[in-house]
């Protein structure tokens, strides 16, 4: 409340000031924060781009201090090894993938390099890339991100370094490593831009025998793949309901979410069906294909039938929780999930109840067991410290951490020689390994993603798929809408890339 002793003139003056300030506050609150919550850093998106010629300016005070010190002291960071200067390499590899102990070990062997982990989600990374503040070693999905990053000129060509490396031996690499090769048009050919840290046959199925027993359904033959409609039918049989209450579901589609179709899963189906949605030079996509419609029809019915937690039954329990607590009989996941089963408190005491089934196919389709992630990293082309970044890169992807990773069984190595390190003690390990050996013969094909759409396919798919579950749209309209929306993004991204 304003003081009652104030004369009117002053009050008006104060009111004017208050109004001015309020107006400014309005402006500030609206525009300064594109992200007001967890993503405050988003506001920097698209704001200082262009002013940052140097890759390391911005986000991290300590790393900047380090790199600035280097620049002024040695003048040339490439020579810092010799001069004993310490260089900080920033990476978005997560702390779950690179432990403090491993970092300490590396830093002990390489006193000139400090490793700094930077927790990044897709939104923050997009902002950092836009402003030239991205880390030196950028973690990413090989399948969905790599081609786009190459087109955008973010990835450094590592072909020569890998060819000359004594740690990463080219002839020891499995064909799957080629997913980080891209010639501008086709994945798998052209320069090498990176390596996966590990990978999996991500659309395979894991089963929970207890849930099969509860439904009185025998386990499927693990020596040959089912078709997706067979999987859905099986899931229906495995779903046990008591009136309206679900006692057990047949299928979890993902470990984190709902049993609904998704873009990535559709790409595997299309790959098996031999259908490519991409037009010439990836300049457009067309989903108006019978296989895409079959896929959607099959899944919409599956959602309506409630074979797993979904938007209609509004069960908020995650797929992984259900599977590990014997409340879902199957889960769609690759080899890496065996690591989750081995380490989870609920499952590790009775591993024999679990096993892997081969990646299903489209009806009448060919057998394919592609990876849906191949998480790995590239070296940022703009890095100020390419030598040190490479030293770290070589160690993380080919050195001791690679061995450590393989031994845990949380994913498959990219080196033939490291395949022997995978767990193979228990009956569960043996069952999984046996199916894996079979699957490995079908991993040479890659999901046919579109480099200009990168990871935008998922939200576009969701936009048009969700109304289908509630009967608010038709499959025809959904396919048309997905195609249209994706092509808007592709056309704009191509034009921005100068193509």
């Amino acid at each position: 409340m304003l003081s009652t002793h104030m004369i009117k003139g002053e009050t008006d003056h104060m009111k004017k000031l208050t109004l001015t300030l309020s107006a400014v506050t309005v402006a500030a609150t609206v525009l300064a924060g594109c992200g007001g919550g967890d993503n405050g850093e988003n506001s920097s998106a698209g704001t200082n781009a262009g002013t940052n010629a140097s890759a390391n300016s911005g986000t991290n005070a300590s790393s900047n201090a380090d790199s600035n010190a280097n620049t002024s002291a040695s003048g040339n960071n490439a020579g810092s090894k010799a001069s004993g200067e310490v260089v900080t390499i920033r990476t978005s590899i997560t702390d779950g993938e690179l432990s403090k102990d491993q970092i300490a070990e590396f830093e002990k062997d390489h006193p000139n390099i400090k490793i700094q982990l930077e927790a990044l989600d897709a939104t923050k990374l997009a902002a950092e890339l836009a402003t030239g503040d991205a880390p030196d070693v950028i973690r990413m999905s090989g399948v969905f991100d790599l081609p786009g990053y190459v087109i955008k000129g973010i990835a450094m060509d590592l072909s020569d370094r890998i060819a000359n490396s004594s740690v990463i031996k080219s002839d020891d690499l499995l064909p799957i490593a080629d997913i980080y090769r891209f010639d501008g048009k086709t994945v798998g050919t052209g320069p090498i831009y990176g390596l996966p840290k590990d990978w999996s046959n991500d659309y395979a199925i894991f089963y929970n025998k207890k849930a099969f027993d509860a439904a009185g359904v025998p386990l499927p033959d693990s020596s040959k793949p089912m078709t997706w409609p067979e999987v859905i039918d099986l899931a229906k049989k495995l779903t046990i309901k008591d009136g309206k209450t679900v006692k057990q579901y047949g299928l979890s589609a993902t470990e984190w979410g709902k049993t609904e179709p998704n873009f990535n899963n559709m790409l595997q189906y299309l790959l098996s069906a031999g259908v490519n949605m991409n037009g010439d030079n990836n300049g457009s996509i067309d989903l108006n294909k019978p296989a895409a419609k079959d896929y959607l029809n099959m899944w919409v019915q599956a959602v309506k039938d409630g074979i797993g937690p979904n938007s209609i039954n509004n069960d908020q329990t995650s797929g992984g929780d259900l599977f590990l607590s014997d409340k879902a009989a199957m889960i769609i996941d690759g080899y890496w999930y065996s690591g989750a089963i081995r380490s989870n408190e609920k499952s590790k005491t009775h591993l024999d109840d679990y096993g892997m089934l081969p990646t299903p196919t489209a009806p009448g389709g060919t057998r394919v067991a592609p990876t849906g992630g191949a998480t790995g990293a590239i070296i940022n082309k703009e890095t100020k410290h390419p030598e040190e970044a490479w030293t770290f890169y070589e160690w993380f992807f080919g050195g001791k951490p690679a061995d450590d990773r393989a031994k845990t069984g949380w994913g498959l190595p990219v080196f033939k020689s490291k395949m022997d390190l995978l767990p193979k003690e228990t009956a569960f390990d043996k069952q999984v390994n046996q199916v894996l050996q079979d699957e490995l013969q079908y991993t040479s094909q890659y999901l046919q993603t579109n480099p200009y759409l990168s990871s935008g396919g998922w939200p576009i798919f969701d936009k048009y798929a969700a109304p289908l579950y509630f009967g608010k749209s038709t499959v025809e309209d959904a396919i048309t809408g997905m195609t249209k929306d994706a092509n808007v993004v592709i056309t704009e991204a191509m034009s921005a890339a100068g193509q």
Partner: protein
């Protein structure tokens, strides 16, 4: 006059730390964003930008998603702001009563506004859930049909319910406002024999209008920019697309920028939102002279 100059100088001196930070980290990025909204910026082509004139702005009005999202956002705001302001005021009136343990109640009602959005959404998600969610269990107890709180028909209602849960955030400023009303006015009214209700309508409410005015303005600004809650209510990550009824304007901008790297278009979307907020704020400011009572004005 000289005194006024001195006062003005002192005023700007005192706000200067904020002002400098605002100019550097607020205004400059905003104007840079404005500049980018006239280009084909896609997150990586900063060195070879093409100017596209008003193309992005034109696209906003032909983008059915954007227009639909704007409509939904205005509807959510139309419910969220008045209900939120009323609830905040009502709570403050109750919490202004001198009863034992009022401090505890004040804390309880204020608590939701300091719980991070992520945690509160997670909590509500389980309350809205159909399997053992508390809301459906209550409906079951009352022998009412269970509903899908996060499905097409109820998702927006659920969102507004969840947002109103944070209405206690306004209690702090409302209480400050209530405490600022001179006691003499109530004493005088009591002597004149005014009832509790007429004291509320003739003293409390008129004198609270500046606070209500502030809450309405801030409510509108905040409400038009909601994005985290609808995304997380039906999705599990930030780039997840909320179910259509909860697809708000800011979510659309967020998706365009971060899921599709349409930075320039996203900037255009946000500048249009800025204009809408500015317009609504002006409307509230202009109408305020009819309903906001400044104690000093009445005396002057």
């Amino acid at each position: 006059m000289k005194d006024r100059t001195r006062r003005t100088f002192a005023f700007y001196l005192m706000v200067s730390p904020w002002l400098i930070v605002f100019l550097l980290f607020g205004l400059y990025p905003m104007l840079y964003g404005l500049f980018l909204s006239f280009t084909n910026y896609y997150g990586f082509n900063i060195h070879h930008l093409k100017f596209t004139g008003f193309h992005n702005y034109h696209n906003v009005f032909t983008d059915t998603d954007a227009m639909h999202a704007l409509g939904t956002t205005l509807v959510v705001t139309a419910f969220n702001v008045p209900l939120g302001v009323l609830l905040g005021l009502g709570l403050a009136l109750l919490l202004n009563v001198k009863v034992r343990g009022v401090g505890v109640y004040r804390t309880i009602f204020y608590l939701p506004s300091i719980v991070p959005a992520l945690s509160s959404v997670l909590m509500w998600k389980f309350m809205f859930s159909s399997n053992d969610g508390i809301l459906n269990n209550i409906l079951k107890l009352l022998h009412l049909p269970e509903v899908n709180w996060l499905g097409y028909d109820y998702a927006t209602v659920s969102l507004v319910m969840m947002l109103l849960w944070g209405a206690g955030g306004g209690v702090l400023i409302n209480l400050a406002g209530l405490k600022g009303i001179p006691r003499e006015l109530y004493e005088a009214a009591e002597i004149d024999g005014a009832s509790g209700l007429s004291r509320l309508t003739h003293i409390t409410l008129p004198l609270m209008t500046p606070v209500i005015f502030f809450n309405v303005i801030m409510g509108i600004i905040g409400s038009l920019q909601i994005y985290l809650q609808p995304i997380l209510l039906t999705g599990t990550e930030l780039l997840a697309r909320p179910i259509e009824p909860n697809y708000l304007y800011f979510v659309h901008a967020f998706q365009q920028i971060f899921a599709f790297q349409r930075f320039a278009y996203g900037m255009a979307l946000l500048w249009i939102l800025f204009l809408i907020i500015l317009l609504l704020s002006i409307v509230v400011f202009v109408t305020s002279k009819y309903w906001v009572h400044y104690e000093t004005d009445q005396e002057g």
